[in-house]
């Protein structure tokens, strides 16, 4: 976390999971860099990652922080509602449970 003492940087490369690639792609699309409508900025991503708080920041992985901040930004901008997010999360949970 910014300004705090930390160990050496881990330089090992690792494979990204499919969902991590999707989160990255989602951010690219929402940023409108390929000409689509710009629905968020990288600054909103950072603001909402900073707003997670130190505990959640440490507990979450890199793309977990991204996907949480992206969802938060979509709620703030009114692209989705909390209710829609809740229903979608239930739908995915039920689908995964089979």
């Amino acid at each position: 976390m910014g300004g705090l003492p930390a160990g050496p940087v881990q330089r090992t490369e690792h494979e990204y999971a499919e969902w991590e690639r999707r989160v990255d792609a989602l951010m690219v699309l929402l940023s409108g860099v390929f000409g689509g409508k710009r629905l968020m900025t990288v600054d909103e991503l950072r603001k909402n990652i900073e707003a997670l708080g130190p505990e959640a920041y440490d507990a979450m992985g890199y793309y977990e922080r991204w996907v949480s901040a992206i969802a938060q930004t979509m709620l703030q901008r009114g692209v989705i509602t909390t209710e829609e997010l809740a229903r979608k999360m239930l739908e995915v949970e039920r689908r995964e449970a089979g």
Partner: protein, 97 residues
């Protein structure tokens, strides 16, 4: 804007949606997924989930007082088995059982 029509009447059995989305949600964590009975309709109010994002929260949503059995809410509840707890919950967090 006309408020959302109430779907439930007192005495009807409902279940609280068991979901944990981001944002500002008034449905307490401990009651999500629980089953209860509609005690009364409290009226219709602007959706706090939208008010928290600085939007108007309209149309207003029906809000109910829902009654739950304490022993079903808290697995280790030691009081009387008839004890209840009333929680005010918006309609969009409820489904008919």
């Amino acid at each position: 804007m006309k408020p959302v029509e109430p779907l439930f009447r007192p005495g009807e059995r409902v279940r609280v949606m068991k979901a944990y989305p981001l944002g500002h949600v008034r449905t307490p964590y401990y009651i999500r997924g629980a089953r209860g009975v509609i005690e009364r309709l409290c009226g219709a109010f602007a959706n706090p989930e939208e008010l928290a994002q600085m939007r108007d929260g309209l149309p207003a949503r029906p809000l109910y007082r829902v009654r739950f059995l304490q022993r079903e809410v808290w697995p280790d509840y030691r009081g009387s088995c008839d004890d209840t707890v009333d929680v005010e919950i918006f309609q969009h967090w409820l489904e008919r059982t």
